[in-house]
Symmetry: C2
Subunit: 327 residues, 2 copies
């Protein structure tokens, strides 16, 4: 299997990306194509003693930054590490493409450069978040701020396949994000979608509220991209603030440090459980080839985990299963 | 000043409500009218040795539960503790009304039984949440799932007055919830509202993302009720899950208990800072008289804090200021 990786996406690129690729080669036995400025990649690899076995480099000059528009990937920055990654994937030079770069550009590229699965209205950005009992997929996480009921139904179908085939969850429980559990709650979009999901063959458990997102009562939360983005980032923001407060307690005083020594193992386990790095990759579901968004803050371990998920996605033929499930 | 309180609203009613009222009488020197079944209130007061000085009781039989529809307050349950509270407020028997009961019913009652401030399109449910630097008001928190730009502008005006007059924040910073900071982000509702807020005299700081909600970068987050409810409950859900995880670490082992003893003071301070009980009351902004929703899980201290805010709201003539600011 050959995975294409954007060497210049994310806050810690290219070092952590190159490191993550090298670790993935040795962990999974995959081949990798890194896209980006070759001289820089080789320089960083040498400086940090990172072996580049089984890693090819596709040289290109440009980089899409967080300040570039989403459309830059198809317009002004066709020679960027991200656009070139998409081109290689479209040409069949690799089995999947990952980038920790600009999410908007990645969604636009997945839609316009890779095309959609036949029948799919719009691809969705589908991050996996930690929950009390494991994890859940939230989609759409921000690719489509305006949605119609049929789009939400397709999101549910795609996520159900992903959670079953890649995350190995039997009969994934699908929840519809809403302001209350009763079927008449929410806007017209949500009332209509409720009816459609209820009639579907999916394991639809009904409406779920914001407080249920981390509680583990469902495996998939379906919503429009505006709502999903607010849930996703509120989740990350609140978790980050509380983790920082805890860290301050344990580093701010001698007593704190003594306490930390006593419970360090448990604290670390908790931090890991609620760390997005564990589920580093968010697929762009609906693209006709595997495209993964890696968290912008990705470290090497994030990338390794994301590549692991990517391999499972490819091996499970999840895109063919999604395609068949839509009918 | 005389405050009307629904004795049978919330999970811990009537005991914690009665207790909170008695404490408020002694703390603030206010008079209180409790609505609800008089025999039960007197029985609970005697059993728990709670003095009922300066507390009148308006006897009524019925209670609106969490399972009742929002409309029950004006239709099937006109003799409930909540509906009677609204009647007393409308008749001018008290200066403000508080309930920890059914939020939907409270919003409907505030709109239909108390009426709106002249010019206000729709009252908003406006909870105050903790942030890293203090607190912020989020509105609409769920009263109106469908909103128009003018409604969002009014929410911003009302919240700005509230945060200035009641929470004593100078020139409250108003943020618009959105999926990105650029002015073209979001749905049509948000793009239009952005333009309107930018032209207003409010201290509008622009779009803010979900992760900024707890970070303290603004004092007010404006959004439609669907989005606001998802933010509010995701915030509560994530905070609750993490606090429980921390509690488990400190109670689950001998080492944990030893560590807890060392940092108990700091942990409690953090818990208090992120505890909604501190900001126990969410005003229904836009109602022509002060109506406060108290958290459903309210303890006596929650009610005391909410009554304190309520007194500030009445004394600041905030409703007159809002009315003048709308023009």
């Amino acid at each position: 299997m050959k995975i294409i990786v954007d060497a210049f996406g994310g806050d810690n690129a290219p070092l952590e990306i190159i490191k993550g690729c090298a670790e993935s080669v040795s962990k999974f036995g995959v081949d990798i194509i890194l896209t980006g400025k070759e001289t820089k990649i080789r320089e960083v690899a040498v400086e940090n003693k990172i072996p580049l076995d089984h890693i090819e480099i596709e040289d290109c000059d440009d980089v899409i930054t967080m300040h570039d528009s989403a459309e830059s990937v198809v317009k002004t920055k066709k020679n960027s590490s991200m656009a070139v990654g998409f081109r290689l994937l479209a040409e069949g030079k690799g089995d999947a493409f990952l980038s920790a770069g600009n999410s908007g550009a990645l969604c636009v590229g997945a839609t316009l450069l890779i095309k959609r699965i036949k029948g799919i209205k719009r691809p969705a950005f589908a991050p996996v978040l930690p929950s009390v009992t494991g994890c859940l997929m939230l989609l759409d996480g921000g690719a489509n701020v305006d949605c119609r009921p049929e789009m939400l139904r397709q999101f549910a179908v795609m996520a159900s396949v992903y959670m079953e085939k890649v995350m190995k969850i039997d009969k994934p429980r699908i929840g519809l994000a809403n302001v209350g559990t009763e079927d008449h709650k929410g806007t017209e979009l949500y009332r209509e979608t409720y009816g459609i999901l209820k009639e579907s063959k999916l394991n639809f458990i009904g409406n779920i509220e914001g407080r249920d997102v981390p509680s583990g009562i469902c495996d998939v939360v379906v919503c429009d991209g505006f709502t999903g983005n607010m849930i996703l980032k509120t989740y990350e923001g609140v978790a980050a603030v509380l983790m920082k407060e805890i860290k301050n307690i344990f580093t701010g005083s001698t007593k704190g440090k003594m306490a930390a020594a006593l419970v360090m193992k448990d604290l670390k386990a908790m931090k890991n459980r609620f760390d997005y790095n564990t589920y580093g990759g968010a697929p762009i579901l609906g693209a006709s080839k595997p495209v993964f968004k890696v968290h912008g803050d990705a470290k090497a371990i994030t990338l390794v985990n994301a590549i692991g998920l990517c391999i499972d996605y490819v091996e499970a033929n999840a895109i063919d299963v999604i395609s068949a499930s839509l009918k």
